[in-house]
Every structure is written in structure tokens, then in C-alpha cells.
């Protein structure tokens, strides 16, 4: 295979692997902007993965699986919001709770509905609909953009949509203000709490969709703890992307690329483990680099800096 072919294949793989991260990352971005650190992306994505397979299996429709995944993700997002806003639980504990719940329920129901442990696959599971872009099919490299699952296109469109929403609409202004000075928003007569619910539910829907792509996007199967930390990588992507939609897109593509590279190198008999470590190490490195470069600017306000 020539170089161009490799590039094309890598691009296609990157797009495919980035999609779930972009989706969940956008959810994390909104949550962070409105002032709620969201570590439950992982659990919401996992629920999405499982639900997508479950519904697709019983209905034979990838679409329905996808929608159900988004819906259940939204339900989990609502639960997360409830823990945080109504029960006033500590943010991190609420996130751990949602993730644990998701892991527990998906494992339990994997057994209950499908009678297996570990992983489940079946020809009855329909994958996500795939879109072709006829114009691009003749072009090398750009060909990679055609033939992707619908969620890949959705994720990229959502980046642009969210960019517009965040900077050009009242809701976006209120979200941006809400994370920095919630009382200013409340005293302006805005129902900030309701906005937070909406944002968290949205993050759930987005993560759920991301999960659907994971389990229905190429292969159709669900395995225990399928997300395996991707929700957290999405979180890292938002931070890396300076909490902006376009930045998140860029960061997610980087991580997706690392993921794709891992798969590729495995066929060359590289010890798989070391490559699989790649994305995680990369995340750590980028976290450090990002913080170093914006040191003193106070832009990444994730956890308060401890004074020297």
C-alpha cells in the first residue's frame, strides 16, 4: 500500500475513533463552562454503548439504538444533575456515583438480557447508518471523509453549532457567565439552575451518542466496561482544547489519532501494551504542557492552584 493510501486509512480511522471523544468532549465543555466539573462522561458514554446494542438487537435498527443511547445518556445526565444540584452532593462523588452505577447496571444487565459475561455480539445487531459523500469518493485522502457513520458527521457539525451557541446566543452568554460568577447570572433574573440541568442533560445525550458510536460505529458489539476511560480522555480533550468547541475538536482528533495509531501498529507486532499506553501518556503530557503554557493566566481553572 502506498503512502497516500496509508494516510487515507489513518485519516479514516482517526475520524472514526475521535467521534465519541468529540461528542463527549463537547458535553464536558458545556458542563465546565457553566461551572460544573463533569467526570460522569464515562458512565454516560457506557450506558449509551450498552443501550445502543440492546435496542438495536431487539429492534434491528441502528437509528433507534442511537436515539435510545442518547436518551438514556440524557437520563443519566439528569441523575448527575440531581445529585449535584438537588442533593448537593460533592461534584466528584456524584460523578463517581454515576460512573459506578453505569458500570454496575451495564454489567448486570449484560448478564440478565444476553446471558453472557464479558462481551456480546450478534449479527442481529444493526450498526449505525453510514453516509457516503459521492463528490469525495474519487478524491484520494479526502475519500476518508465519505463512508463514515452518521455520528462522525454529527459530531463535526455539533462543534460548529456549539461554537455559535456559546458566543452568539443569550444561552451561551449565560453559560459562560454562569461558570465564572453564578450570582451575577441569578441576580439578572436568569434561572441558572434550570440552565444547569439542561446543560448536564445535554452532556449526557452527547456522551450517550458517543457511546453508541463506540458500540455500533464499526463493529457491532458490547463488552464490559467498553468505554475504558474514553470519557476521561474526552475530559482531557476539553482541557487541552482550552474549553472551546474548536479546541476540543482539535484535541479530540489528536487523541483519536493516537488511538488509531495504536490499532495500526498492532498489526506490525509491536508489543500492544506499550502502544495502548500511548493515549494515556499523551493525555498526561498535554495536561502538563497546557498548564505550563498558560501558567499565571488563570485560564485552566480546573482545580485551584495551591499557592507556593
Amino acid at each position: 500500500m502506498n503512502a497516500l493510501g496509508v494516510v487515507e486509512m489513518m485519516l479514516a480511522a482517526t475520524l472514526r475513533m475521535s467521534a465519541p471523544i468529540i461528542l463527549a468532549g463537547l458535553g464536558g465543555l458545556l458542563s465546565f463552562r457553566i461551572g460544573m466539573l463533569n467526570i460522569a462522561l464515562e458512565g454516560m458514554m457506557l450506558i449509551g454503548s450498552f443501550t445502543a446494542v440492546l435496542v438495536s438487537y431487539f429492534t434491528g435498527s441502528g437509528y433507534l439504538g442511537m436515539l435510545a443511547a442518547g436518551f438514556l445518556g440524557g437520563v443519566l445526565g439528569y441523575l448527575f444533575a440531581l445529585f449535584n444540584l438537588k442533593f448537593k452532593a460533592h461534584n466528584i462523588i456524584a460523578g463517581v456515583a454515576v460512573n459506578t452505577l453505569a458500570l454496575g447496571l451495564t454489567t448486570y444487565f449484560l448478564r440478565t438480557f444476553f446471558g453472557v459475561r464479558g462481551a456480546f455480539s450478534s449479527p442481529k445487531i444493526a450498526g449505525l447508518p453510514v453516509f457516503r459523500l459521492p463528490g469525495l469518493e474519487a478524491v484520494p485522502v479526502l475519500r476518508a471523509f465519505s463512508g463514515q457513520s452518521v455520528l462522525v458527521y454529527v459530531s463535526i457539525s455539533l462543534v460548529l453549532l456549539l461554537h455559535y451557541i456559546l458566543y452568539q446566543t443569550p444561552a451561551g452568554l449565560r453559560i459562560r457567565a454562569g461558570g465564572r460568577h453564578p450570582m451575577a447570572v441569578v441576580t439578572a433574573g436568569v434561572n441558572l439552575e434550570r440552565l444547569k440541568y439542561i446543560v448536564l442533560i445535554a452532556s449526557g445525550v452527547l456522551s450517550g451518542l458517543g457511546g453508541a458510536h463506540l458500540s455500533l460505529g464499526q463493529l457491532t458489539m458490547f463488552s464490559e466496561n467498553m468505554t475504558n476511560g474514553r470519557g476521561f480522555i474526552a475530559m482531557a480533550a476539553t482541557i487541552f482544547g482550552q474549553n472551546t468547541p474548536l479546541g476540543t475538536l482539535g484535541a479530540s482528533l489528536v487523541f483519536g489519532f493516537a488511538d488509531a495509531l495504536t490499532m495500526r501498529l498492532q498489526t506490525y507486532n509491536f508489543p500492544p501494551f506499550l502502544i495502548q499506553m500511548g493515549p494515556y501518556v499523551l493525555t498526561l503530557v498535554t495536561l502538563v504542557l497546557v498548564v505550563q503554557s498558560t501558567a499565571g493566566r488563570g485560564r485552566t481553572r480546573l482545580a485551584g492552584r495551591l499557592p507556593q
Binding site: 455559535y164 452568539q168 446566543t169 443569550p170 452568554l173 449565560r174 459562560r176 457567565a177 465564572r180 460568577h181 450570582m183 451575577a184 447570572v185 441569578v186 441576580t187 439578572a188 433574573g189 436568569v190 434561572n191 499565571g296 488563570g298 499557592p307 507556593q308
Partner: protein, 513 residues
């Protein structure tokens, strides 16, 4: 006659306290009402109710003669009521324009109509005489200008009734005069203004009408011209307070703490204190006067040892302590009463006892071998302090968060001064505290001074500074711009220094009284 606002028989309780007890007030449009009372009297609660932030348990509110019910601020805003809070409700990283339109953004099709927003705000700022840089980030504006943004915000929302909560806390005397001129002009244009304040001389300057509250009730309600500041003070407190402990004259004593050209950075790395020099002598109170935000916090933290120096040195009793951390300075004898007692000075869910030992828990007699805590010694310590400082608490095990503000401050003060330390840094020691506790704290400080302690009193309350200080240092943008004797200066002169309009040159600055 229809009043702009009437609040009748308002009742509001919080766990353990009646904040508003059958409160009735009436305000005429085009007038300025001053709502006066000490901290805890219920004035902010009452205005929060008027602004829809709280719900009354009983009573009714009428706006322009019509009964209204506010479920949230959105309703109050619709009724034409606006509120400028003590702590500004401005988002620092957004522009002036974005802050003003927040919550009431003009829209076109799918997004914000920035042109319409800009036009509307510019028109308003011209009409009312407020010049504001719309594209500037709020955090870059000086405080006086930020307050103008807050007021313009209210006008943009169509407020006819403006409530301002302690607006002059962050202003110099000159800026206060400017604010009052603006307010009078607004009143002249038919707006109704309610000012919450506890500064009586300002009340006499600007009020048309005065309402005094005490312990949740209205105790006086009369036109401003029919009363005096002294009379209002009497109503606020309900009794005449005995004078604070007398100041004993001292011989010129030795320097116990010396700050030599210290430079301290704030959280973003900017030098908040710049080459500041100051000497503290035994048995004196040096009052550091200034408008909040001129480096006071960084100065206090630097002396206490919670913030490092990026330049200069600090000497205590002749020893260089610049690199000493907080615990070592405490051991030497530098106490620190922090500005923020709820989040820094105390651990609210913990008991009074556990709070009283904070900072001393590592030393005998409170802890022994391997750091083991001696619970009996701790109990003795706590009971002793509770008794000596008259801390009103059901028991030493009571969570300190349930105590009143004044008693909470007593816990902090007790802990810091019980050992009669040689140096005390007191930053806003009586903020948000009732008059009885204020008196108590002032007394304690004076007693300590008479016994030989040196006190660095940092406060934005000029009355407090003038009453207690042996010398007054005015801080502006991180530098001492004047050193004055309280007897030989006036509030006006202090105001000039605080605003940076005047400064004493080199030698003069250090040779006062």
C-alpha cells in the same frame, strides 16, 4: 398618595433568628431612603425580599400601589426594581457590554443583536451621564467604574426603583461624593432610591428619609432633616455604649516589627505591595487605611507568613523572618486575624473547641508524644477561652457555624490574642459583626496595646482606624503614601491620600507624630 414601594408587615425567619419582624416601610418616588442598622439588623434580608431573592412568610409588597408577588429576581426586574449588591455581580472576564445585557440580551433571528445592544447602552449612558468603555473587560476597570457599570445595568433593565447595598464600602470619600451626586440626579429624574448603609455621616449627606432597623424591627422612621447622626446611632444600638478602654500614653518604645521595602505579588503575579516600608513599635496600634483592593490582603498575608515576598525583608525583634512560614511566625508570636473569618479563620462544621486550638494544636500542652492530642488539656484550653472572652455558645462541642457572626469572630479573636502575642495583624476585625462584639474587639485590642503588643490594624472602616490608631498609614496601590497622626488629620485629608490624589514625599512619610 401612592408610594413607589410599600412593604407591609413583612416577616421572615431563618433557623434560630427572626430577620424581619412585622416590618413596614414606605418610599416615595423621586426620593432617597436610607435603610440604616447595624449588621444583623435585617436590612439586607428585607431588600433581598424586595428583589425577589427571598420569600417573606407574611406581609405584602406593593409597587406603585399594586400588590405584587416576586417568585424570583426576574419578577422584581419586570416590576422595575433593580439591586446593586455589596459584592458586585459582575463577571470579570466578560466585557462591560456583555455584563450589562446579561439576562436581557436583544436578539435577532437566532443570536444576540450586538448592534442593538450597543446602541441601547450608549443611549442610556448619555442620558444619565455615565461614561463607560463598553468593550473593556470588567476586571480591568477600577472599582468606582465597576459600580457605575452595576448602576447602568439596572437602568438598562428599566429599573425605576434602585436598591444599593452598602455602596460606599469600596469607595474613597471623593468617589462617594460623586456617587451621591449621581444618585441625587437620578432621584431628580423620578427614580426611587433605597440605600442600605451603616455609615451615619453619609446618611445625613444624601438621605431624604431615614428608616432605622434593629434586631429585625423598624425602630425609627422619619425625614432626614428631623434627626441627627447621633440620634440615629442611639436608635441603632438602643443604648449608649461605654467608651472603649482608654489609651495609655507610652514612652517611645523599640521597634518590634520592621517591614523593609517589601514587595508582594497577588494571585496573578502582579505586585500588589510595592517596596513598602513600615515599622511597628511595642505598644502601638498602626492603622492601615485604604480602599479595599490596594494591597491590604497581600500585606496582611505577607506579614502573617501566608504569602511570600518577592522583594525586601521583614524583621521581627531584630531577626530576619522573611522566609519563615506561618507556623514558625506564630510560634515567635505573630498572630493573624484574617479578613475572611468564615472561610479562612474558622472551620464551620467543626466544634468551637476544635476551632480554638487551630494553629496551637502541635504544641504543648495540647499535644504530646508523636503528636498525640491531649483531649483534657484541649478541654481546659477551650473552657478557659470561652470564659475569658465571653463566647456565647451552648457548649464547646457546638459547631462553630451555628454561632452568630459576632461570636464567631470572638472565637477567632480569642484564639489569636489569648496569649498576648507581641505582634497582631488584624485585618477587618469587625466586619459583619454586631455592635456589641465590635465594642468587645476594640476593647481587647486597646487592652493588648496598653500591655505592650504591637497591632497592625488594616481596615476600610475609617471610624475604626481613627478611634484606635496611634498612627495612621494610608496605603494606595501597594505603597504607603502617608503616615499621619489621628489627631492631626481629617477624614477628608485621609480621603485624598486614599484616592492617590496626594502623597507625602519621602521623609515626610516616615516622620509622623
Amino acid at each position: 398618595m401612592t408610594y413607589a414601594v410599600e412593604m407591609k408587615g413583612i416577616r421572615k425567619t431563618f433557623p434560630g433568628v427572626v430577620a424581619n419582624d412585622e416590618v413596614t416601610i414606605r418610599v416615595r418616588s423621586g426620593s432617597i431612603l436610607c435603610l440604616v442598622g447595624e449588621n444583623g439588623a435585617g436590612k439586607t434580608t428585607l431588600m433581598n425580599i424586595l428583589y425577589g431573592l427571598e420569600q417573606p412568610e407574611a406581609g405584602e409588597i406593593l409597587v406603585r400601589g399594586q400588590p405584587v408577588h416576586f417568585a424570583s429576581s426576574a419578577d422584581a426586574i419586570k416590576a422595575g426594581i433593580g439591586m446593586v449588591h455589596q459584592h458586585f455581580m459582575l463577571v470579570p472576564d466578560l466585557t462591560v457590554l456583555e455584563n450589562i445585557i446579561l439576562g436581557h440580551e436583544p436578539v435577532r433571528r437566532w443570536g444576540i443583536n450586538w448592534n442593538r445592544a450597543r446602541t441601547a447602552v450608549l443611549e442610556l449612558s448619555q442620558r444619565y451621564g455615565f461614561e463607560l468603555p463598553l468593550q473593556e473587560l470588567v476586571r480591568r476597570l477600577p472599582v468606582g467604574l465597576q459600580q457605575k457599570v452595576e448602576i447602568l445595568k439596572l437602568l438598562y433593565r428599566g429599573a425605576e426603583i434602585l436598591i444599593l447595598d452598602e455602596p460606599t464600602a469600596v469607595l474613597t470619600p471623593q468617589e462617594t461624593g460623586e456617587l451621591f451626586a449621581n444618585l441625587r440626579s437620578l432621584a431628580g429624574q423620578g427614580k426611587t432610591i433605597i440605600l442600605i448603609t451603616h455609615k451615619l455621616d453619609e446618611v445625613m449627606q444624601v438621605a431624604d428619609h431615614v428608616v432605622v432597623m434593629r434586631k429585625g424591627r423598624v425602630v425609627q422612621d422619619l425625614p432626614a432633616r428631623e434627626t441627627t447622626a447621633e440620634e440615629i446611632a442611639y436608635f441603632m444600638v438602643g443604648r449608649r455604649l461605654p467608651e472603649v478602654e482608654e489609651r495609655k500614653p507610652h514612652e517611645k518604645a523599640e521597634v518590634i516589627l520592621s517591614l523593609q521595602r517589601i514587595t508582594v505579588a497577588d494571585d496573578s503575579g502582579f505586585p500588589a505591595v510595592r517596596e513598602l516600608s513600615l515599622d511597628l513599635h511595642r505598644g502601638e496600634i498602626v492603622g492601615v487605611a485604604g480602599v479595599s483592593g490596594n494591597g491590604q490582603r497581600e500585606l496582611a498575608q505577607a506579614v502573617a507568613g501566608l504569602r511570600g515576598l518577592i522583594g525586601g525583608d521583614i524583621y521581627a525583634g531584630g531577626t530576619k523572618i522573611s522566609s519563615w512560614e506561618r507556623s514558625r511566625r506564630r510560634e515567635w508570636g505573630i498572630s493573624y486575624i484574617p479578613e475572611d473569618r468564615t472561610h479562612v479563620g474558622l472551620c464551620l462544621p467543626w466544634s468551637v473547641e476544635d476551632n480554638l486550638i487551630a494553629g496551637f494544636h502541635r504544641h504543648k500542652p495540647l499535644s504530646g508524644v508523636l503528636g498525640r492530642l491531649d483531649r483534657q488539656a484541649i478541654a481546659r484550653w477551650a473552657n478557659d477561652l470561652i470564659g475569658r472572652f465571653d463566647i456565647r455558645t451552648p457548649s464547646r462541642h457546638t459547631p462553630v457555624g451555628t454561632l452568630s457572626g459576632g461570636n464567631q469572630q470572638k472565637v477567632t479573636v480569642a484564639r489569636e490574642v489569648a496569649g498576648a502575642p507581641p505582634v497582631i495583624v488584624a485585618h477587618e476585625p469587625t466586619r459583619g459583626v454586631d455592635v456589641g462584639a465590635i465594642h468587645f474587639v476594640h476593647n481587647q485590642l486597646m487592652l493588648l496595646r496598653n500591655a505592650g503588643s504591637a497591632i497592625l490594624l488594616i481596615s476600610s472602616d475609617l471610624d475604626e482606624i481613627l478611634k484606635l490608631s496611634d498612627r495612621i498609614a494610608v496605603i494606595f496601590r501597594g505603597e504607603i503614601v502617608a503616615l499621619l497622626s489621628p489627631g492631626r488629620t481629617s477624614r477628608q485629608e485621609l480621603g485624598f491620600y486614599m484616592a492617590g490624589l496626594k502623597r507625602r514625599s519621602g521623609d515626610e512619610a516616615f516622620s509622623a507624630s
